[in-house]
Amino acid sequence: MELDLSPKEVEIPAHVPDELVLPFPFLFGVKTKQDPFGELAAQVHAETPPIFYSKHAYPGGTPAWVVRTAEDLKTIHFDTENFSNKGFSPFSMIIGETWNLVPAESDPPIHAHYRAFVSRVFSPGAIAKLEDKIRGYAREYVEGLKDKGKCEFMRDFAFEFPIKVFMELMGLPQSRTKQFLEWEEAMLHSHDLKKMAVATRSVVDYLREELADRRENPTDDLFTYGVQAKIDGRELTDDELVGFTFNLFIGGLDTVSTQMGLQFLHLARNPEHQKMLRDDPSLIPAAIDELMRAYPAVTVFKTVTQPCELKGVKFMPGDKVVMSATLAGRDPAEYDAANEIRFDRESDGHLSFGYGPHLCLGMHLARREMRIAMEEFLRAVPEFRLKDGVEVEHYLGMIQPTAVDLVW
């Protein structure tokens, strides 16, 4: 069964003024040869008001508000009273279960308890200890491909590398990496409801088995951390533990792969930027943040919980809101020459890891993975470029290049 992503005939609710109903190009399940950032995002900024309504902007082809400016996105990210994170992901539903992602699909006050429990293991200090392990995995891939003169960066490096780090954290055998990649692809890229459900079921069963195992055989991994943790004086329920470990799976793998792909696509197209970073690798952290600013891949969704207003636009309970980091990163009101990539940009920050209480839990890990990947690749591989004649395509939804063919 194909996941039905086709545009639906939708009725526009009475509180939405006609003139705010506008087209939005970033539709889930769509592929494009246009540049999603320099063309599509720039076009949205040039042609639409700060907040507008679009008929098919929500995954599944249903309507939602689109908020296009960094300023308004920040306001909403902080406004947990009016905008809820509950129930934005389809995964537990498609397998007939009812758990929520922990902490992503929770609201205050329990959200802060969840964060206090998980932040301990994702704090900058805790993550810094993984430096050598992460570098070891990055080297394995880079050593394996550096003499080949070419690679398809997503397949040969970006997809698997964060899975290896995840397996390490979770105490899972590295031999399962390919299996995890298959599940991830079916869940996030097949757009086939049946395949998604089968893969989700496999992942959830696997997580439950591992959780049961660590109750019996505690070690020092994150499953053990979860089963032993207390929040607000009580243990986590089985559903909460599944929601937690599933959240790490769904939030921490494909996201890193995607951002790495976008970063290397940029470097392949801009040899002068490669040279800058090879000449002075200490610029890499700032470069990664500028590339995160300019190529944000992730869109998250909120649901309105009570009637409220922002910049004169009325929201009603149940309204969906598209929070596109991609638009925020190219907002001309937030950044000078938003479409130029400058590694020495005076930092204005970015919303590519979100903002406010739900800011990406894995941010410190993700930054470390991306930095180490770039350091190791640039150290071992000479100047690279895109293979002649390939036309780059991106999936929309989460904005991911379909392939990044590099030659050197």
């Binding site: 704090s123 952290p285 903002y355 800011l359 941010m363």
Partner: protein, 104 residues
């Protein structure tokens, strides 16, 4: 207004008047003090607003909450705090906070 001094890793200092009720983080960010990134905007979710508080001021501050403690897990030194979680009060007039060399 209470005065807060922000000290950079190289020793340069900026003394600022910060309104009571504002956070030490907000005082820095709104006045363009370098080195406090505050990526989450003050939600105790990023740990990029760290400051080092000297012994003479530490006890005058309310103890960190569980979320702040969690964010500072394994961070070097036990004199770190998250500046978004410190509310400026009249009592803190004259406090010096040191900004670490890096927030990451």
């Amino acid at each position: 207004m209470p005065k807060i001094t922000y000290e950079q890793p190289d020793g340069t200092r900026a003394e600022l008047e910060v309104e009571e009720g504002m956070s030490v983080m907000r005082g820095a960010v709104d006045n363009g003090i370098d080195g406090i990134v505050a990526e989450c905007g003050g939600a105790c979710a990023c740990a990029t607003c760290q400051v080092v508080i000297g012994a003479e001021w530490r006890d005058k501050l309310p103890a960190p909450g569980v979320l702040e403690e969690a964010m500072l897990e394994d961070v070097e030194g036990d004199d770190r705090r998250l500046s978004c979680q410190i509310e400026v009060t009249a009592e803190l007039d004259g406090m010096v906070v040191k900004i670490p060399a890096t927030q990451y």
